[in-house]
Amino acid sequence: MSPREIRLSTTPTDEDIAKLRLGDIVYLDGLMYTAREGVYMRALEEKANIPMELPSQSAANFHCSPAARINADGSFDMGAVTATASFRFAKWLPEWMEKTGARLIIGKGGMTSKDYKSYFVPNGAIYLSTVGYGTGALLGRGVENVEAVHWNEELGLAQAMWVIKCNKMGPFIVASDLNGDCLFERENAKIAQNIERVYEGTKPAVLKRYGESDDRSDEVI
Protein backbone atom coordinates (compact mmCIF):
# COMPACT_ATOMS: atom_id res chain seq x y z
CA MET A 1 0.00 0.00 0.00
CA SER A 2 1.50 3.34 -0.94
CA PRO A 3 1.15 6.25 1.46
CA ARG A 4 -1.39 9.12 1.06
CA GLU A 5 -0.11 12.32 -0.56
CA ILE A 6 -1.38 15.70 0.66
CA ARG A 7 -0.66 19.37 -0.19
CA LEU A 8 -0.46 21.60 2.86
CA SER A 9 -0.13 25.35 3.43
CA THR A 10 2.72 26.63 5.64
CA THR A 11 0.01 28.58 7.47
CA PRO A 12 -2.32 25.62 7.99
CA THR A 13 -5.75 25.75 9.65
CA ASP A 14 -6.67 23.59 12.66
CA GLU A 15 -8.71 21.38 10.33
CA ASP A 16 -5.78 20.90 7.94
CA ILE A 17 -3.60 19.67 10.79
CA ALA A 18 -6.28 17.50 12.36
CA LYS A 19 -6.64 15.59 9.10
CA LEU A 20 -3.00 14.46 8.98
CA ARG A 21 -2.17 10.87 9.90
CA LEU A 22 1.19 9.29 10.77
CA GLY A 23 3.01 8.24 7.59
CA ASP A 24 1.13 10.62 5.24
CA ILE A 25 3.32 12.25 2.58
CA VAL A 26 3.07 16.03 2.54
CA TYR A 27 4.05 18.72 -0.01
CA LEU A 28 4.22 22.33 1.23
CA ASP A 29 3.11 25.65 -0.28
CA GLY A 30 3.86 29.10 1.12
CA LEU A 31 6.61 30.72 3.17
CA MET A 32 8.87 28.64 5.38
CA TYR A 33 11.82 29.81 7.48
CA THR A 34 14.92 28.00 8.69
CA ALA A 35 15.73 28.25 12.40
CA ARG A 36 18.13 26.10 14.39
CA GLU A 37 20.42 26.64 17.40
CA GLY A 38 21.84 29.96 16.11
CA VAL A 39 18.43 31.56 15.55
CA TYR A 40 16.97 30.11 18.78
CA MET A 41 19.83 31.44 20.89
CA ARG A 42 19.70 34.86 19.27
CA ALA A 43 15.92 35.21 19.53
CA LEU A 44 15.32 33.52 22.89
CA GLU A 45 18.50 34.04 24.90
CA GLU A 46 19.74 37.32 23.46
CA LYS A 47 16.15 38.55 22.99
CA ALA A 48 16.77 39.95 19.50
CA ASN A 49 13.63 40.98 17.58
CA ILE A 50 12.56 38.27 15.14
CA PRO A 51 12.70 39.89 11.67
CA MET A 52 9.41 38.33 10.44
CA GLU A 53 5.72 38.51 11.29
CA LEU A 54 5.07 35.12 12.86
CA PRO A 55 2.90 33.11 12.54
CA SER A 56 0.91 35.20 10.01
CA GLN A 57 3.67 34.98 7.38
CA SER A 58 4.68 31.44 8.22
CA ALA A 59 3.98 28.78 10.84
CA ALA A 60 6.59 26.42 9.38
CA ASN A 61 9.99 26.15 11.06
CA PHE A 62 12.55 24.13 9.07
CA HIS A 63 15.57 22.69 10.95
CA CYS A 64 17.88 23.21 8.03
CA SER A 65 20.97 24.85 6.64
CA PRO A 66 20.82 25.01 2.86
CA ALA A 67 23.66 24.49 0.41
CA ALA A 68 23.41 28.06 -0.86
CA ARG A 69 25.32 31.24 -1.61
CA ILE A 70 24.67 34.96 -1.50
CA ASN A 71 25.80 36.56 -4.77
CA ALA A 72 27.72 39.84 -5.01
CA ASP A 73 24.55 41.62 -6.21
CA GLY A 74 22.67 40.44 -3.10
CA SER A 75 20.65 37.74 -4.88
CA PHE A 76 20.60 34.15 -3.64
CA ASP A 77 21.34 30.77 -5.17
CA MET A 78 19.96 27.77 -3.40
CA GLY A 79 21.03 24.31 -4.57
CA ALA A 80 20.11 21.49 -2.25
CA VAL A 81 18.12 21.69 0.99
CA THR A 82 18.20 19.03 3.70
CA ALA A 83 17.15 18.94 7.31
CA THR A 84 19.32 18.50 10.37
CA ALA A 85 18.45 16.29 13.36
CA SER A 86 15.80 17.99 15.50
CA PHE A 87 16.16 16.27 18.88
CA ARG A 88 18.99 18.68 19.74
CA PHE A 89 16.61 21.64 19.68
CA ALA A 90 14.12 20.35 22.29
CA LYS A 91 15.66 22.78 24.76
CA TRP A 92 14.39 25.84 22.86
CA LEU A 93 11.28 24.61 21.03
CA PRO A 94 8.60 25.08 23.75
CA GLU A 95 9.47 28.77 24.15
CA TRP A 96 9.92 29.20 20.38
CA MET A 97 6.45 27.78 19.65
CA GLU A 98 4.84 29.94 22.27
CA LYS A 99 6.54 33.04 20.87
CA THR A 100 6.07 32.37 17.13
CA GLY A 101 2.97 30.18 16.87
CA ALA A 102 4.85 27.60 14.80
CA ARG A 103 2.53 24.72 13.88
CA LEU A 104 4.75 22.70 11.53
CA ILE A 105 8.19 21.71 12.79
CA ILE A 106 10.14 20.24 9.90
CA GLY A 107 13.42 18.39 10.30
CA LYS A 108 15.27 15.11 10.54
CA GLY A 109 14.38 12.23 12.86
CA GLY A 110 11.56 13.79 14.82
CA MET A 111 11.29 14.28 18.59
CA THR A 112 10.06 11.97 21.34
CA SER A 113 6.37 11.36 22.04
CA LYS A 114 7.05 13.06 25.37
CA ASP A 115 7.99 16.25 23.47
CA TYR A 116 4.93 15.92 21.25
CA LYS A 117 2.53 15.44 24.15
CA SER A 118 4.01 18.14 26.37
CA TYR A 119 4.30 21.08 23.95
CA PHE A 120 3.43 20.14 20.35
CA VAL A 121 -0.16 19.05 21.04
CA PRO A 122 -1.01 22.01 23.35
CA ASN A 123 0.21 24.35 20.57
CA GLY A 124 -1.74 22.46 17.88
CA ALA A 125 1.55 21.59 16.18
CA ILE A 126 2.83 18.51 14.39
CA TYR A 127 6.21 17.29 13.14
CA LEU A 128 7.10 16.69 9.49
CA SER A 129 10.22 14.70 8.68
CA THR A 130 12.23 15.03 5.49
CA VAL A 131 12.61 11.80 3.53
CA GLY A 132 15.70 9.81 3.21
CA TYR A 133 17.31 12.03 4.59
CA GLY A 134 19.05 12.97 1.46
CA THR A 135 16.35 14.23 -0.89
CA GLY A 136 18.11 17.60 -1.01
CA ALA A 137 17.85 18.03 -4.77
CA LEU A 138 14.09 17.25 -4.83
CA LEU A 139 13.47 19.70 -1.99
CA GLY A 140 15.62 22.27 -3.79
CA ARG A 141 13.26 22.03 -6.77
CA GLY A 142 10.38 22.99 -4.47
CA VAL A 143 12.06 26.31 -3.60
CA GLU A 144 10.31 28.86 -5.81
CA ASN A 145 12.28 31.76 -4.41
CA VAL A 146 14.56 32.77 -1.55
CA GLU A 147 12.72 35.77 -0.10
CA ALA A 148 15.32 36.89 2.45
CA VAL A 149 18.28 35.84 4.58
CA HIS A 150 18.18 37.32 8.07
CA TRP A 151 21.06 37.43 10.57
CA ASN A 152 23.62 36.20 8.05
CA GLU A 153 26.23 38.62 9.38
CA GLU A 154 25.62 37.63 12.98
CA LEU A 155 25.26 33.86 12.49
CA GLY A 156 26.91 32.89 9.17
CA LEU A 157 25.30 31.23 6.14
CA ALA A 158 24.70 27.87 7.82
CA GLN A 159 22.91 29.28 10.89
CA ALA A 160 21.17 32.28 9.30
CA MET A 161 17.37 32.53 9.05
CA TRP A 162 16.53 31.74 5.42
CA VAL A 163 13.02 32.63 4.24
CA ILE A 164 11.95 30.30 1.46
CA LYS A 165 8.88 30.42 -0.79
CA CYS A 166 7.78 26.81 -1.28
CA ASN A 167 5.91 25.53 -4.29
CA LYS A 168 4.84 21.93 -3.80
CA MET A 169 8.01 21.40 -1.81
CA GLY A 170 8.50 17.85 -0.64
CA PRO A 171 8.23 15.03 0.04
CA PHE A 172 7.87 15.22 3.84
CA ILE A 173 6.43 12.50 6.11
CA VAL A 174 3.98 13.20 8.93
CA ALA A 175 5.89 11.96 12.01
CA SER A 176 3.57 13.15 14.81
CA ASP A 177 -0.16 13.83 15.13
CA LEU A 178 -2.51 15.77 17.39
CA ASN A 179 -2.60 12.76 19.72
CA GLY A 180 1.10 13.22 20.32
CA ASP A 181 1.85 9.83 18.76
CA CYS A 182 5.27 9.35 17.21
CA LEU A 183 5.81 7.55 13.88
CA PHE A 184 9.40 6.59 14.69
CA GLU A 185 8.47 5.13 18.08
CA ARG A 186 5.72 3.11 16.41
CA GLU A 187 8.29 1.67 13.97
CA ASN A 188 10.84 1.10 16.78
CA ALA A 189 8.26 -0.95 18.67
CA LYS A 190 7.69 -3.20 15.65
CA ILE A 191 11.44 -3.71 15.16
CA ALA A 192 12.01 -4.37 18.88
CA GLN A 193 10.21 -7.72 18.63
CA ASN A 194 13.08 -9.03 16.52
CA ILE A 195 16.01 -7.75 18.60
CA GLU A 196 16.51 -10.78 20.80
CA ARG A 197 16.77 -13.10 17.83
CA VAL A 198 19.32 -10.89 16.04
CA TYR A 199 21.51 -10.57 19.15
CA GLU A 200 21.39 -14.26 19.94
CA GLY A 201 24.88 -15.62 20.68
CA THR A 202 26.61 -12.21 20.77
CA LYS A 203 28.52 -11.25 23.91
CA PRO A 204 28.56 -8.05 25.95
CA ALA A 205 31.94 -6.31 25.87
CA VAL A 206 34.50 -7.36 28.51
CA LEU A 207 35.27 -3.71 29.31
CA LYS A 208 32.09 -1.84 30.30
CA ARG A 209 31.29 1.86 29.91
CA TYR A 210 29.66 4.11 32.50
CA GLY A 211 25.98 4.62 31.83
CA GLU A 212 25.79 1.78 29.33
CA SER A 213 22.37 0.30 28.54
CA ASP A 214 21.80 -3.28 27.44
CA ASP A 215 18.21 -2.50 26.51
CA ARG A 216 18.19 -2.28 22.71
CA SER A 217 14.66 -0.96 22.65
CA ASP A 218 16.13 2.25 24.15
CA GLU A 219 17.01 5.17 21.92
CA VAL A 220 20.15 7.30 22.04
CA ILE A 221 18.45 10.65 21.40
Binding site: G134, G136, P171, I173, E187, V198, E219, V220
Partner: protein, 318 residues
Protein backbone atom coordinates in the same frame (compact mmCIF):
# COMPACT_ATOMS: atom_id res chain seq x y z
CA UNK B 1 56.17 17.10 -13.12
CA UNK B 2 52.41 17.57 -12.68
CA UNK B 3 51.34 21.21 -13.25
CA UNK B 4 49.80 22.85 -10.19
CA UNK B 5 47.11 24.59 -12.27
CA UNK B 6 45.96 21.14 -13.46
CA UNK B 7 45.76 19.95 -9.86
CA UNK B 8 43.57 22.87 -8.85
CA UNK B 9 41.20 22.73 -11.85
CA UNK B 10 40.83 18.94 -11.51
CA UNK B 11 40.19 19.28 -7.78
CA UNK B 12 37.40 21.79 -8.46
CA UNK B 13 35.77 19.41 -10.95
CA UNK B 14 36.03 16.59 -8.41
CA UNK B 15 34.29 18.65 -5.73
CA UNK B 16 31.42 19.25 -8.15
CA UNK B 17 31.17 15.58 -9.22
CA UNK B 18 31.27 14.29 -5.65
CA UNK B 19 28.47 16.58 -4.48
CA UNK B 20 26.17 15.95 -7.45
CA UNK B 21 26.73 12.51 -9.03
CA UNK B 22 26.01 9.38 -7.00
CA UNK B 23 28.72 6.78 -7.78
CA UNK B 24 27.47 3.92 -10.00
CA UNK B 25 28.47 1.15 -7.58
CA UNK B 26 26.38 2.64 -4.77
CA UNK B 27 23.49 3.42 -7.14
CA UNK B 28 23.44 -0.21 -8.33
CA UNK B 29 23.46 -1.38 -4.71
CA UNK B 30 20.59 0.91 -3.78
CA UNK B 31 18.52 -0.12 -6.81
CA UNK B 32 18.96 -3.73 -5.74
CA UNK B 33 17.82 -2.76 -2.25
CA UNK B 34 14.78 -0.93 -3.65
CA UNK B 35 13.77 -4.05 -5.59
CA UNK B 36 13.86 -6.28 -2.53
CA UNK B 37 12.33 -3.83 -0.05
CA UNK B 38 8.77 -4.61 1.01
CA UNK B 39 8.22 -2.27 3.97
CA UNK B 40 5.76 0.33 2.56
CA UNK B 41 7.37 3.41 4.17
CA UNK B 42 10.96 2.31 3.57
CA UNK B 43 10.07 1.46 -0.06
CA UNK B 44 8.70 4.97 -0.49
CA UNK B 45 11.93 6.40 0.94
CA UNK B 46 14.18 4.39 -1.39
CA UNK B 47 12.11 5.39 -4.40
CA UNK B 48 12.35 9.06 -3.37
CA UNK B 49 16.13 8.70 -3.04
CA UNK B 50 16.42 7.25 -6.55
CA UNK B 51 14.34 10.18 -7.88
CA UNK B 52 16.59 12.53 -5.95
CA UNK B 53 19.79 11.28 -7.62
CA UNK B 54 18.14 11.92 -11.00
CA UNK B 55 17.04 15.41 -9.96
CA UNK B 56 20.56 16.24 -8.76
CA UNK B 57 22.10 15.09 -12.02
CA UNK B 58 19.54 16.86 -14.22
CA UNK B 59 19.70 20.17 -12.36
CA UNK B 60 23.43 19.93 -11.53
CA UNK B 61 22.61 20.65 -7.89
CA UNK B 62 24.00 18.93 -4.79
CA UNK B 63 22.17 15.65 -4.06
CA UNK B 64 21.90 16.47 -0.34
CA UNK B 65 21.67 19.83 1.41
CA UNK B 66 24.09 18.63 4.05
CA UNK B 67 27.06 18.39 1.74
CA UNK B 68 29.19 16.86 4.50
CA UNK B 69 32.74 17.78 5.41
CA UNK B 70 34.89 17.77 2.25
CA UNK B 71 38.24 16.03 2.63
CA UNK B 72 41.06 14.77 0.41
CA UNK B 73 43.04 11.58 -0.02
CA UNK B 74 46.13 11.88 -2.19
CA UNK B 75 47.77 8.76 -3.60
CA UNK B 76 51.09 9.15 -5.40
CA UNK B 77 53.20 6.83 -7.47
CA UNK B 78 56.77 6.65 -6.20
CA UNK B 79 58.10 8.71 -9.12
CA UNK B 80 55.43 11.44 -9.05
CA UNK B 81 56.36 15.06 -8.47
CA UNK B 82 54.26 18.18 -8.22
CA UNK B 83 55.09 21.62 -9.56
CA UNK B 84 55.84 23.81 -6.53
CA UNK B 85 56.09 20.82 -4.20
CA UNK B 86 53.69 19.36 -1.67
CA UNK B 87 52.87 22.66 0.05
CA UNK B 88 51.68 23.99 -3.32
CA UNK B 89 49.50 20.91 -3.68
CA UNK B 90 47.93 21.47 -0.27
CA UNK B 91 47.25 25.11 -1.10
CA UNK B 92 45.62 24.08 -4.39
CA UNK B 93 43.34 21.59 -2.61
CA UNK B 94 42.35 24.16 0.01
CA UNK B 95 41.68 26.74 -2.68
CA UNK B 96 39.61 24.26 -4.74
CA UNK B 97 37.57 23.40 -1.64
CA UNK B 98 36.80 27.05 -0.98
CA UNK B 99 36.02 27.83 -4.63
CA UNK B 100 33.69 24.85 -5.04
CA UNK B 101 31.88 25.61 -1.77
CA UNK B 102 30.82 28.89 -3.29
CA UNK B 103 30.50 27.56 -6.84
CA UNK B 104 28.38 24.39 -6.59
CA UNK B 105 27.21 25.67 -3.99
CA UNK B 106 27.99 23.45 -0.99
CA UNK B 107 26.93 24.10 2.57
CA UNK B 108 29.77 25.80 4.47
CA UNK B 109 29.74 23.22 7.25
CA UNK B 110 33.17 23.76 8.76
CA UNK B 111 33.36 25.90 11.88
CA UNK B 112 35.77 26.37 14.80
CA UNK B 113 34.78 23.83 17.49
CA UNK B 114 34.65 26.40 20.28
CA UNK B 115 34.15 29.83 18.72
CA UNK B 116 31.93 28.51 15.87
CA UNK B 117 33.78 30.85 13.47
CA UNK B 118 32.62 30.09 9.90
CA UNK B 119 34.71 31.24 6.93
CA UNK B 120 31.79 30.17 4.69
CA UNK B 121 34.17 28.12 2.53
CA UNK B 122 34.74 24.78 4.33
CA UNK B 123 38.38 25.74 5.01
CA UNK B 124 39.86 26.28 8.46
CA UNK B 125 42.28 24.79 10.99
CA UNK B 126 42.88 21.19 9.88
CA UNK B 127 40.10 21.46 7.28
CA UNK B 128 39.89 19.97 4.74
CA UNK B 129 41.83 16.94 5.96
CA UNK B 130 44.49 15.84 3.46
CA UNK B 131 45.82 12.31 3.83
CA UNK B 132 48.48 10.57 1.78
CA UNK B 133 49.29 7.14 0.43
CA UNK B 134 52.03 5.92 -1.89
CA UNK B 135 52.46 3.18 -4.47
CA UNK B 136 55.77 1.63 -5.50
CA UNK B 137 55.47 2.50 -9.20
CA UNK B 138 54.17 5.36 -11.33
CA UNK B 139 54.57 9.06 -12.00
CA UNK B 140 50.85 9.76 -11.55
CA UNK B 141 48.91 11.26 -8.69
CA UNK B 142 45.39 10.25 -7.63
CA UNK B 143 43.17 12.95 -6.13
CA UNK B 144 40.24 11.55 -4.16
CA UNK B 145 37.63 13.74 -2.55
CA UNK B 146 35.07 12.42 -0.09
CA UNK B 147 32.22 14.50 1.36
CA UNK B 148 31.09 12.40 4.31
CA UNK B 149 28.40 13.48 6.75
CA UNK B 150 29.88 14.23 10.10
CA UNK B 151 27.51 13.67 13.03
CA UNK B 152 25.94 10.23 13.40
CA UNK B 153 26.66 6.59 12.62
CA UNK B 154 30.22 6.30 13.88
CA UNK B 155 31.51 4.74 17.09
CA UNK B 156 34.70 3.33 18.61
CA UNK B 157 35.26 0.73 21.30
CA UNK B 158 38.32 -0.96 22.79
CA UNK B 159 37.55 -4.67 22.64
CA UNK B 160 39.89 -7.45 23.80
CA UNK B 161 40.84 -10.82 22.35
CA UNK B 162 38.47 -12.49 24.83
CA UNK B 163 35.56 -10.54 23.30
CA UNK B 164 36.06 -12.60 20.14
CA UNK B 165 33.89 -12.55 17.03
CA UNK B 166 30.71 -12.56 19.14
CA UNK B 167 31.89 -9.36 20.84
CA UNK B 168 32.63 -7.79 17.46
CA UNK B 169 29.13 -8.71 16.29
CA UNK B 170 27.60 -7.22 19.43
CA UNK B 171 29.33 -3.85 18.96
CA UNK B 172 28.47 -3.83 15.25
CA UNK B 173 24.78 -4.46 16.01
CA UNK B 174 24.83 -1.90 18.83
CA UNK B 175 26.15 0.75 16.43
CA UNK B 176 23.51 -0.06 13.81
CA UNK B 177 20.71 -0.08 16.40
CA UNK B 178 21.84 3.15 18.07
CA UNK B 179 22.23 5.17 14.88
CA UNK B 180 19.76 3.31 12.67
CA UNK B 181 16.73 4.28 14.75
CA UNK B 182 14.97 7.26 13.18
CA UNK B 183 17.49 6.86 10.37
CA UNK B 184 20.14 9.03 12.03
CA UNK B 185 22.81 7.14 10.08
CA UNK B 186 20.99 7.92 6.77
CA UNK B 187 20.92 4.24 5.86
CA UNK B 188 21.02 2.03 3.80
CA UNK B 189 24.72 2.77 4.09
CA UNK B 190 28.14 1.43 3.25
CA UNK B 191 29.28 0.26 6.67
CA UNK B 192 33.03 0.39 7.28
CA UNK B 193 34.58 -1.53 10.15
CA UNK B 194 38.10 -0.88 11.38
CA UNK B 195 39.71 -3.65 13.41
CA UNK B 196 43.09 -3.21 15.08
CA UNK B 197 45.68 -0.51 14.68
CA UNK B 198 46.24 1.94 17.49
CA UNK B 199 43.13 3.87 18.62
CA UNK B 200 43.43 6.67 16.08
CA UNK B 201 44.38 4.34 13.23
CA UNK B 202 41.46 2.07 14.14
CA UNK B 203 39.14 5.00 13.40
CA UNK B 204 41.06 5.79 10.22
CA UNK B 205 40.81 2.17 9.01
CA UNK B 206 37.05 2.04 9.54
CA UNK B 207 36.53 5.41 7.90
CA UNK B 208 38.61 4.38 4.89
CA UNK B 209 36.78 1.03 4.71
CA UNK B 210 33.50 2.94 4.34
CA UNK B 211 34.58 5.75 2.02
CA UNK B 212 37.47 4.33 -0.04
CA UNK B 213 36.00 0.94 -0.97
CA UNK B 214 33.13 0.41 -3.39
CA UNK B 215 29.93 -1.62 -3.22
CA UNK B 216 30.83 -5.09 -4.49
CA UNK B 217 34.49 -4.97 -3.40
CA UNK B 218 35.94 -7.70 -1.18
CA UNK B 219 38.84 -7.77 1.29
CA UNK B 220 41.78 -9.72 -0.16
CA UNK B 221 41.86 -11.98 2.92
CA UNK B 222 39.20 -14.62 2.10
CA UNK B 223 38.23 -15.11 5.75
CA UNK B 224 37.67 -11.37 6.17
CA UNK B 225 35.75 -11.33 2.87
CA UNK B 226 33.45 -13.98 4.34
CA UNK B 227 32.93 -11.89 7.47
CA UNK B 228 32.00 -8.90 5.29
CA UNK B 229 29.23 -10.90 3.63
CA UNK B 230 28.05 -12.35 6.94
CA UNK B 231 27.97 -8.92 8.60
CA UNK B 232 26.00 -7.45 5.73
CA UNK B 233 23.37 -10.17 6.13
CA UNK B 234 23.37 -9.72 9.91
CA UNK B 235 22.75 -5.98 9.60
CA UNK B 236 19.95 -6.55 7.11
CA UNK B 237 18.29 -9.13 9.35
CA UNK B 238 17.52 -6.57 12.09
CA UNK B 239 14.28 -5.69 10.31
CA UNK B 240 15.17 -2.01 10.09
CA UNK B 241 15.26 -0.13 6.80
CA UNK B 242 15.65 3.44 5.56
CA UNK B 243 14.85 6.12 8.18
CA UNK B 244 14.53 3.40 10.83
CA UNK B 245 11.21 2.24 9.37
CA UNK B 246 10.40 -1.46 9.23
CA UNK B 247 12.38 -2.88 6.32
CA UNK B 248 15.13 -5.23 5.26
CA UNK B 249 17.79 -2.88 3.90
CA UNK B 250 20.12 -1.27 6.40
CA UNK B 251 23.52 -2.22 4.93
CA UNK B 252 24.27 -1.84 1.21
CA UNK B 253 27.79 -3.14 1.74
CA UNK B 254 30.00 -4.01 4.70
CA UNK B 255 33.74 -3.41 4.33
CA UNK B 256 36.26 -4.51 6.93
CA UNK B 257 39.86 -3.30 7.08
CA UNK B 258 42.46 -4.43 9.59
CA UNK B 259 45.77 -3.24 11.01
CA UNK B 260 48.12 -4.89 13.50
CA UNK B 261 47.32 -3.85 17.08
CA UNK B 262 48.62 -4.24 20.64
CA UNK B 263 48.76 -7.93 21.59
CA UNK B 264 46.35 -7.37 24.48
CA UNK B 265 43.66 -5.52 22.52
CA UNK B 266 41.24 -5.65 19.60
CA UNK B 267 40.09 -2.06 18.99
CA UNK B 268 37.07 -1.67 16.73
CA UNK B 269 35.40 1.21 14.93
CA UNK B 270 32.17 1.37 12.91
CA UNK B 271 31.41 4.01 10.27
CA UNK B 272 28.35 4.59 8.08
CA UNK B 273 28.74 6.20 4.65
CA UNK B 274 25.24 7.49 3.99
CA UNK B 275 22.62 7.52 1.22
CA UNK B 276 24.66 10.31 -0.36
CA UNK B 277 27.92 8.34 -0.61
CA UNK B 278 29.88 11.21 -2.12
CA UNK B 279 33.26 10.34 -3.58
CA UNK B 280 35.07 11.25 -6.79
CA UNK B 281 38.53 10.33 -8.06
CA UNK B 282 40.91 11.51 -10.79
CA UNK B 283 44.33 10.30 -11.90
CA UNK B 284 46.66 13.01 -13.20
CA UNK B 285 49.80 12.44 -15.27
CA UNK B 286 52.74 14.78 -15.95
CA UNK B 287 51.73 15.06 -19.64
CA UNK B 288 48.46 16.70 -18.60
CA UNK B 289 46.19 13.65 -19.00
CA UNK B 290 43.34 13.36 -16.47
CA UNK B 291 41.12 10.30 -16.02
CA UNK B 292 38.03 10.49 -13.82
CA UNK B 293 36.59 7.50 -11.96
CA UNK B 294 34.63 6.75 -8.77
CA UNK B 295 36.60 3.79 -7.36
CA UNK B 296 39.44 5.11 -5.16
CA UNK B 297 41.23 1.75 -5.44
CA UNK B 298 43.01 2.69 -2.22
CA UNK B 299 43.52 -0.73 -0.66
CA UNK B 300 46.13 -2.18 -3.02
CA UNK B 301 48.39 -5.09 -2.04
CA UNK B 302 51.03 -2.48 -1.16
CA UNK B 303 48.67 -0.71 1.31
CA UNK B 304 47.93 -4.05 2.98
CA UNK B 305 51.55 -5.26 3.01
CA UNK B 306 52.46 -7.35 6.00
CA UNK B 307 56.24 -7.75 5.95
CA UNK B 308 59.34 -5.54 6.17
CA UNK B 309 60.32 -5.57 2.52
CA UNK B 310 58.08 -5.02 -0.47
CA UNK B 311 59.20 -7.72 -2.88
CA UNK B 312 58.89 -5.84 -6.20
CA UNK B 313 60.95 -2.95 -4.72
CA UNK B 314 63.44 -5.40 -3.33
CA UNK B 315 63.87 -7.02 -6.75
CA UNK B 316 64.27 -3.63 -8.42
CA UNK B 317 67.07 -2.72 -6.00
CA UNK B 318 68.92 -5.90 -6.88
Amino acid sequence: MIPISLIQSTAETLMDKAAIDIPDDYLTGLKRAAETEDGDLSSFVLKAMLDNYEAAKEDRRAMCGDTGVPRWFVKMGNEASVEGGMCALETALRRATATATNGVPLRPNRVHPLWRTDHNNNVGIGAPEIEYGFEPEGDWIDLITVHKGGLFGTDYRMLFPSDGIQGIKRFYLDSLMAFGKRGLACQPAIIGIGLGGSKDICMTLGKRASVLRTVGSRNSDPRIAEMEEEFKELGNSIGMGAMGFVGKNMVVQCNIEVGYCHTGGMPMSVHAFCLSSRRAVARLWPDGRVEYRTDPDWFTPYQRRETVDWEPMHEAAE
